[in-house]
């Protein structure tokens, strides 16, 4: 079982009346709501939290990419990942990921990820989401009708840039390059493990199976809502003759641990309500550009989580209530033993070997995030370790240099260190 600590980096100072006064947390979120001095503090605290999780023994720390988004302050996850690579030594650096169609040429992604892999000594997990409509089509102006074709071509180009030992020409439909020859190339051979965060489309599952990539479902609505998607994934794997190796899959779950359930309820109610209320306040104008969903996905009636949240908000006139957040398991809350029990059920039921835990959510401050992380590491993690490992090999985990061969950053910003 691999336990990964995931950060969205939400802006924690959206006003209380955000839903009433503002139309969207995404795309055209009011610029004036962001104070760069607050962002300065948040970035540093959030990176502290990620580094702390690595120090507490989480197998990986995860970052991701969003644009013009009030709950995701990481337009460039690679910047954060490279800083984390310097300040951590053993945890995998999971970048989930770079939306490939947004980069021109996409060799930029191949280069930056190769840099992170080299800096970290081979600890990179390379995530390639298509990216949400809000990020790709609206904030980044990509044509929804061409997004997937561009994504798939960019993927081919990046993998070739990583693996082709020669300088080569790439004559794609969208990218023409006379000379592809990235320096550096990745430390991990043939390339860092590739993970695909996606919605619930059958084509994505089939592609992951064909390419032997990890499929990740980043659920904002807990395991009960995610169950159907993961069941669909495993049914498709079975149909394609793939084994049920749980390391083929990743799943994101919000978690809040405290000494007792009562204490957890007291501590995590406000940040959870902040996330489900303010952070998921997405204008329905931006959730479904034509062509973003394939016709097969339309026929299968797969609706994205954000589209669902937006529809819900229109129907119910608000975010999820605390009762609903608890009852539907959007956030798993409780004492360490209670949380461990529930997560064992989630892992077994969904058959996921890569459990991504969102332990800072909404407006949560660093102290509480660190408390959550420490309690989890000390008292939940030991109960989950070893799950699946007796039967399955994880072929999708980074293979870093042996510890003795890895460079260590000089300690601190001192004159002696510089000399």
């Amino acid at each position: 079982m691999k336990l990964l600590w995931f950060h969205l980096m939400p802006y924690t100072r959206l006003p209380e009346d955000f839903r009433e006064r503002h139309n969207s947390v995404w795309v055209d979120i009011d610029r004036k709501l962001l104070d760069p001095a607050v962002a300065h503090r948040l970035y540093n605290e959030f990176m502290d939290e990620l580094e702390y999780a690595a120090a507490m023994g989480f197998d990986a720390i995860c970052v991701n990419e969003h644009h013009a988004n009030g709950y995701g302050l990481m337009p460039s996850p690679n910047l954060i990942a490279s800083a984390l690579a310097r300040r951590t030594s053993d945890a995998a650096i999971c970048v989930l990921g770079n939306s490939l169609a947004l980069y021109n040429p996409p060799t930029r992604v191949a280069e930056e990820m190769a840099m992170i892999d080299c800096i970290s000594g081979g600890r990179l997990i390379a995530g390639f989401p298509v990216g949400t409509p809000m990020d790709t089509c609206y904030a980044y102006g990509q044509n929804p009708s061409m997004l997937r074709a561009r994504y798939l071509e960019a993927h081919d180009l990046v993998v070739q840039a990583w693996t082709n030992p020669e300088t080569f020409a790439f004559n794609g439909r969208f990218n023409q390059l006379r000379y592809v020859n990235i320096w550096p190339h990745p430390l991990q051979k043939p390339h860092p493990p590739i993970w695909i965060p996606g919605g619930g489309s059958v084509e994505t599952w089939q592609w992951c199976a064909e390419m032997d990539y990890v499929y990740c479902y980043l659920s904002y609505f807990g395991y009960k809502a995610g169950r159907e998607t993961m069941m669909g994934f495993w049914r498709e794997m079975e149909r394609l003759g793939k084994d049920r190796n749980p390391y083929r899959a990743g799943f994101l779950q919000f978690v809040g641990v405290a000494e007792s359930r009562e204490e957890a309820m007291r501590l995590y109610k406000e940040p959870a309500e902040y996330f489900y209320g303010r952070c998921l306040h997405v204008d329905s104008r931006y959730v479904n550009p034509p062509g973003y969903n394939s016709e097969a996905t339309q026929r299968a009636k797969v609706t994205s989580q954000v589209a669902l949240a937006s529809q819900r908000a229109q129907t119910f006139g608000g975010g999820a209530s605390w009762d609903e957040i608890l009852a539907k398991g959007f956030v798993i809350i409780g004492s360490p033993d209670e949380v461990a029990e529930q997560l064992k059920t989630v892992a077994a039921d969904l058959n996921v070997g890569h459990l991504m835990l969102l332990m800072q959510f909404g407006s949560m401050e660093r102290d509480l995030a660190s408390y959550n992380t420490r309690l989890f590491a000390e008292r939940v993690m030991p109960q989950l370790r070893g799950l699946f490992d007796d039967r399955w090999e994880n072929r999708w985990w980074p293979k870093p240099l042996p510890k003795a061969a890895r460079a260590a950053p000089a300690p601190g910003e001192t004159r002696e260190a510089a000399e």
Partner: protein, 259 residues
């Protein structure tokens, strides 16, 4: 309304529907946003005096293959194939909205193909003082109000035809919206301004006075850009899809120009 005759031509190997009705000199018509889910009262008016030929543009109802068209040049080549395949050779051409963009492109790039041109609120130019609204960033269900001064006419146009399954029909209409987005995303500026001067045939520019997508000031931009003799007509009580809102008035204006 009697049904139009139907045939198909292939564009890049994909079948595209051609509807035809009436008699006399052929008059070609390229439809606007959402295409031609069904024959319209405007086309019936035209068919009273002319043989109306309405080819479907790839991606719009009745025609496939939009996902092959990446660049504006791909679209122009496809529309020239489509119009030639439909039989246009020095005849009259009407284009509305998205169809107007491509009709203008066709007239610019193959001047011999079009004798007289009618453009009804075409896209393709961009006025930064009056940027068009984000057609594909609207609240669900707001297109009827946005595109037509008679929203019910638009709703009737795009309603599932008899016998069509609702789910599959919604995919057809989403595909039409995708096809227009594919050509016009994100600002509806196809850089037509660089080619518009090549339109040398007499051109009638029609605009709905109540167009909420492209204000009638765009009519003047088109008129100024076209080399040939152009005339402008503003149609009262009509929105962006003016021929849907005011079929009689638009048909009269067309006949007058094509006398």
């Amino acid at each position: 309304m009697s049904a139009p005759a139907e045939r198909t031509v292939e564009v890049n190997g994909f079948p595209c529907r051609i509807w035809e009705k009436g008699s006399g000199d052929p008059l070609f018509y390229l439809a606007g946003l959402s295409g031609l889910p069904r024959w319209t009262p405007f086309l019936d008016r035209l068919a009273e005096r002319r043989c109306v030929v309405a080819p479907s543009i790839p991606g719009f109802p009745g025609a496939a293959g939009h996902d092959r068209l990446d660049q504006p040049l791909d679209w122009v080549a496809a529309v020239l194939d489509l119009l030639e395949g439909a039989g246009l050779a020095g005849g009259d051409l009407i284009g509305a909205s998205v169809g107007g963009t491509l009709a203008a492109e066709a007239a610019a790039m193959a001047p011999g193909l079009v004798k007289r041109l009618v453009l009804i609120a075409p896209f393709g130019l961009y006025d930064k003082s009056f940027p068009p609204p984000d057609l594909w960033g609207q609240k669900p269900g707001s297109w009827p109000q946005l595109l037509a001064s008679r929203p019910e006419a638009y709703s009737e146009l795009v309603a599932p035809p008899e016998g069509a399954a609702a789910g599959e029909w919604s995919i057809v209409m989403t595909r039409a919206s995708e096809a227009s987005a594919r050509l016009l995303w994100p600002l509806t500026d196809t850089r037509l301004a660089r080619r518009l001067h090549r339109v040398r045939c007499p051109t009638l520019i029609l605009w709905g006075a109540e167009d909420k997508v492209l204000p009638p000031s765009y009519a003047e931009r088109f008129a100024a850009g076209i080399k040939g003799k152009s005339t402008m007509r503003i149609i009262p009580k009509a929105g962006h899809l003016a021929d849907l809102d005011a079929p009689g008035a638009v048909a009269e204006a067309v006949f007058e120009a094509l006398r």
